[in-house]
């Protein structure tokens, strides 16, 4: 078989990983503060459709991406209001946002359903570097947002572990009462990081629209990537840099079926092959479900728990 095909598959995996990384970074930031956000899929859909509509009417790619970010942040603000202020169940609120996002994106996307995207994100040109064998397509064959995403993962990692607000963020997820006793507002920390997390998810949806999807279609655009991103958070044990590795791995699994199809290799029915990423998600979640594994992974201790100051 042509080795070139596999290099391209790998380059594609890196590209597709961008959405996964953005979405899981968003979920990670949110969860580090102790708020679980299961609505990722809904945020991606809303980010994608909003971006599409804005691009369709203005023709401005960057404006479209900003719109995606804003819609993600707005959805997260609703989630934060429900779960932090009103202390609603975070799981229920998250799932509600998936259903809401799926429905609303279908509704507002109706007029543009099936339309091809008005703009695309161009790949960056690195001159001769892009023509290098192997390294060229894998490292130098991507668009600016992909590079920005890598940079973002690195900065978020430094933010978590090397800065004062990062220290407070991690403490908020583990022991909100402690943070509260230090006079830091748990509510503020949670609102802020939930909203920033939602913004990243929205960007993930917008990027996917203009870099990977050919046309807007509610049923086929994001294709369950949001759920994979949630598994990725656990797989990466809430660490941004590990999310890059995991996202590429998952991206590869998502890409392999297409490559096999393109090569006319039919070892397994394509339906089975396309189940692969989801199966992998299941395997990861099952493997990580033991308490021991969770402890080793370092899930935020108070994840999913509303914080109530213990005044009687």
């Amino acid at each position: 078989m042509n080795s070139n095909v596999w290099i391209l598959t790998f380059a594609d995996a890196i590209s597709i990983a961008t959405t996964l990384i953005l979405a899981s970074l968003g979920a990670m930031i949110t969860e580090r503060s102790g708020v679980i956000n299961l609505g990722v899929e809904g945020y991606l859909l809303m980010g994608a459709v909003t971006g599409f509509i804005v691009a369709d009417s203005t023709g401005q790619l960057w404006l479209a991406l900003v719109a995606s970010i804003i819609v993600g942040a707005a959805m997260a603000l609703v989630h934060a209001t429900l779960t932090v202020t009103l202390r609603a169940n975070q799981i229920v609120s998250g799932l509600a946002m998936v259903i809401f996002g799926t429905g609303l994106s279908q509704f507002i996307g109706k007029p543009v359903e099936g339309k091809t995207r008005p703009v695309i994100i161009d790949k960056m040109k690195f001159g001769t570097l892009s023509d290098l064998p192997l390294v060229g397509p894998i490292i130098f064959g991507h668009d600016p947002i992909t590079y920005l995403t890598w940079l973002l993962a690195l900065s978020i990692s430094l933010y978590f572990h090397r800065t004062r607000p990062g220290l407070i963020l991690r403490a908020t997820g583990d022991a909100p009462a402690t943070v509260d006793a230090q006079g830091v507002s748990v509510r503020r920390v949670r609102y802020l990081h939930t909203v920033v997390g939602g913004a990243l998810m929205g960007l993930g949806g917008g990027w996917y629209m203009f870099a990977r999807a050919a046309a807007w279609s509610q049923a086929a655009t994001t294709n369950g990537i949001g759920w994979i991103a949630l598994a990725l958070v656990v797989f990466a044990s809430w660490r941004p840099l590990r999310a890059i590795v995991g996202a590429v791995l998952f991206g590869f699994c998502l890409q392999v079926p297409f490559t096999l199809q393109g090569q006319q290799i039919n070892i397994l029915p394509p339906e089975i092959v396309s189940m692969f990423p989801y199966l992998m998600t299941l395997v990861v979640l099952v493997a990580l479900s033991t308490p021991r594994a969770r402890r080793l992974l370092g899930a935020p201790k108070m994840l999913g728990q509303p914080f109530v100051r213990d005044e009687r």
Partner: protein
């Protein structure tokens, strides 16, 4: 500390003398259904250890919380160095140099000592400098003679060490007045000694310490003054030297109480519970190793130990909730290990777990329903007889409840415990072995007395009782024999007489040979 910035006008000088470091004036605090503090006055001077003594629910923690800024008083004022201050949060308390160390530590287990200490500190740079932080924290540790590695992970420290982290945190943030809420509750006796040394180091450095405790015995030595609270009011105050234990006890409960040791008659009874060579491990960590216990009818065997040394696991093994890796449990001659909780109950074992609401009783169900839970016969339940039984218990044990159909949740801790004990001791098939864990935790003196009487009666009726408790006084006054568990091993076996108190204390801390 810069107290004047937030201070309101007016400076109250106490008769022209040096003002107190911290005072409460006519403080009243109400919670729904209860007045926790009624017109309370309290002062602590610079360099003084002032103890707030009182039973659970007397209002001492509430007062400490008001003094530290966690709660706001409904009436009355807080004065710092004679100047009225308005505290809105623990943070504002800290800005006035007041810090509280809570009974349940507020630490992030996954962080290092240094990270915990500096968390929330305003002096931090945006990008953290771990080396600088560690050096600063080490400096504070050294200054007050508190040995701790700033790089140690808090989750791996002992209770005493964690408390030290809390104290260092307070000192690092510039605390001048420290409020210690039940600081000895989780400590083994030698750790208490160390804590007292720390307290003395702090007061000789001019800090003030408010020591909140319900343990009469231990506060007399450390305190310069003791103020006693009962039912939200201050009932008296004594200076060092003027403190006499029985006088203080009287102030605490409003009547003279005697905690006279109770003993069974003989040890000639039949062995009803035997645990032999039990080993238990979890995730390759040894929890119990080679535990051998025999309890005879008519005796109480006490198991002492600092919590987390395998006591609860032992109770779960005996009651059939957990299966040991090795070893056997025999209840009334029936080998029960591996049979599960239901078969163990059938063999004659009654179990009063530590967690009385939740594991012991179903809080939302009524007393009648809770009694029915352990009855085994038939498909339909016999509510009528359970109702009669419940009414009998309410009368006999003086259980304070609106009625047998009121949900258990609405009962006070002591009354819920009476219900649980009544069910386990008298209801249904009469069991002959009783395993009881921390039966008086969180109960007031009156309820403690009632529970002890019940246990004593059960002993007189020939039951074999295994009493697992962290309250050493309780074990020593009730038990005929005492066993100390340390890291899952029996390290000491003693007669339950007070002369052994010190040896037992040392064994609890793992200091015995």
């Amino acid at each position: 500390m810069n107290a004047s910035s937030e201070a309101t006008q007016g400076s109250h000088r106490e008769n022209g003398a040096t003002p107190f470091a911290l005072s409460a004036r006519n403080v009243t605090k109400k919670f729904p259904g209860v007045v926790a503090n009624k017109q309370v006055n309290f002062d602590v001077a610079r360099g003084e250890v002032h103890t707030l003594l009182g039973e659970n629910g007397a209002g001492k923690s509430t007062l400490a919380s008001i003094l530290s800024g966690l709660y706001r008083p409904d009436e009355g004022t807080v004065l710092r160095n004679g100047i009225e201050i308005r505290l809105t949060s623990p943070r504002s308390g800290l800005s006035h140099g007041i810090a509280m160390v809570h009974q349940h530590f507020r630490l992030v287990d996954r962080f290092t000592v240094a990270e915990n200490v500096v968390l929330g500190s305003k002096g931090l740079t945006f990008v953290l400098q771990p080396k600088d932080i560690e050096a600063k924290v080490a400096e504070v540790c050294e200054k007050f003679g508190l040995p701790l590695d700033p790089r140690a992970v808090v989750g791996e420290l002992s209770a005493g060490q964690r408390q030290r982290v809390e104290i260092i945190k307070a000192l690092y943030h510039g605390a001048e007045v420290l409020l210690l809420d039940e600081p000895t509750a989780l400590l083994a006796p030698p750790e208490v000694v160390k804590l007292f040394e720390t307290v003395r180091a702090m007061t000789s450095a001019g800090k003030s310490v408010v020591f909140v405790s319900h343990k009469l015995g231990e506060v007399v030595d450390i305190s310069d003054r003791i103020t006693v609270m009962r039912d939200g009011k201050v009932t008296g105050s004594v200076k060092r030297g003027g403190a006499n234990a029985s006088r203080l006890a009287e102030l605490m409960v409003g009547r003279e109480i005697t905690l006279a040791p109770r003993r069974g008659k003989s040890d000639s009874g039949e062995v009803l519970l035997s645990v032999s060579q039990v080993h238990l491990s979890h995730d390759q960590i040894k929890i119990l190793s080679d535990v051998n216990i025999k309890v005879r009818g008519g005796e109480i065997l006490g198991i002492a130990g600092v919590s987390g040394n395998g006591q609860r696991d032992l109770a779960e093994v005996i009651s059939g909730l957990r299966q040991p890796n090795k070893g056997a449990v025999t209840v009334c001659g029936v080998p029960t290990s591996g049979l599960g909780a239901r078969a163990t109950r059938k063999a004659g074992l009654a179990y009063v777990p530590e967690d009385r609401l939740g594991t012991g009783l179903a809080p939302s169900l009524s007393m009648v329903d809770n009694l029915l839970l352990t009855r085994e016969r038939g498909f339909l339940v016999d509510r009528k007889s359970a109702l009669t039984e419940a009414e009998g218990f309410i009368e006999k044990l003086e259980i304070k409840t609106p009625g047998p159909l009121t949900s258990i949740r609405k009962l006070s801790g002591g009354n819920a415990q009476k219900v649980l004990l009544a069910r386990e001791l008298f209801s249904g098939d009469m069991s002959r072995v009783l395993v009881v864990c921390s039966p008086t935790r969180g109960l007031d003196v009156g309820a403690v007395e009632a529970v002890h009487t019940l246990l004593d009666e059960a002993r007189k009726n020939g039951k074999a009782i295994l009493l697992i408790s962290e309250d050493l006084d309780e074990v020593m006054t009730l038990a005929d024999r005492v066993i100390v568990l340390y890291r899952g091993k029996i390290v000491l076996e003693a007669r339950g007489v007070s002369e052994d108190f010190e040896a037992v204390g040392r064994a609890m801390a793992g200091l015995s040979a």
